[in-house]
Symmetry: C2
Subunit: 141 residues, 2 copies
DNA sequence: ACCACATATGAGACCCAGTCTCATATAGCA
DNA sequence: TGCTATATGAGACTGGGTCTCATATGTGGT
């Protein structure tokens, strides 16, 4: 799983450094979303000596490569989520934090309709869905 | 326009204080979105002696009342936008910053489809559309 | 019109996420 | 193996937002 990340970076003209390997492993060990602070804490816990700046730089790098994205949780916190480098939307479980991806599910007709009504020329959009994943639906509320 | 805000607050068991009246006026004077820093600067420019904390508290208050919302601009900046207290989505002009609202444009079928495919039970969603408003489309790029 | 008191305020310290700088280290090619 | 562009860590810095606490003020009851 973290090999995928490294492989991708390899093909993108970036160096495969020690810190990057370690961070890739930490990220893949966390399923779902996490905050930058989580990752910094993970690294600190293992005494890897990785600086905050390096963590943020790595997250930026992954984001540029399209395998990481920002999500704003319903409570306003910022999270990062690993994902496929194609256009898609996120389904975030508000209980366990896991994230699924859905491809376009007919959103184009929605944006077209919004454009028609408003006169806007729509360039991009952001859709985030929050709810309970199948596993968490089974847990009593 | 700012009367609407004040009227609403009046009915919500909050006090109509001087600073709140002034902030309501400043907000209604700005169409579209603005950042908290903008509002702080507006107040400072008029030497109203309003503290930062008061500005943020007022924005929170309006958000609780549903007449103000957070929007994350495509460039990552945080903005506040005044809006109707019903469920809707925002169309943000990336050139002039104006904001329009659109009501549900068939998004329910999209969320239903996403739920079907993923097994998630969807509780809420957030959709933001970015583009050019009718006025800005006429300006040469 | 006044009072009492809950609620709101301003000032500034504080916190957290993220960025920048710069001297040092290192991946990866020749 | 050695060279050099690229990446790193430390820590200062920024910007958005929160907290505290002593003071001020709106408002309901008289």
């Amino acid at each position: 799983m973290s090999e995928q990340l490294l492989e991708l970076l390899n093909g993108a003209g970036v160096r495969l450094t020690g810190p990057r390997r370690e961070l890739a492993a930490l990220i893949s060990k966390r399923g779902g979303h996490f905050t930058a602070a989580d990752l910094v804490a993970d690294a600190a816990k293992r005494r890897l000596g990785i600086g905050r700046a390096t963590v943020f730089r790595f997250l930026d790098l992954l984001t540029e490569q399209g395998v990481m994205e920002h999500v704003d949780l319903p409570d306003g916190r910022h999270a990062y989520v690993p994902c496929e480098p194609t256009h898609h939307h996120h389904l975030v479980c508000t209980r366990c934090g896991s994230v699924s991806e859905v491809e376009d599910c007919g959103i184009d007709s929605v944006t077209a309709e919004a454009a028609r009504r408003s006169g806007f020329e729509i360039q991009s959009h952001r859709l985030e869905l929050f709810g309970r994943c199948p596993k968490c639906q089974k847990v009593k509320r």
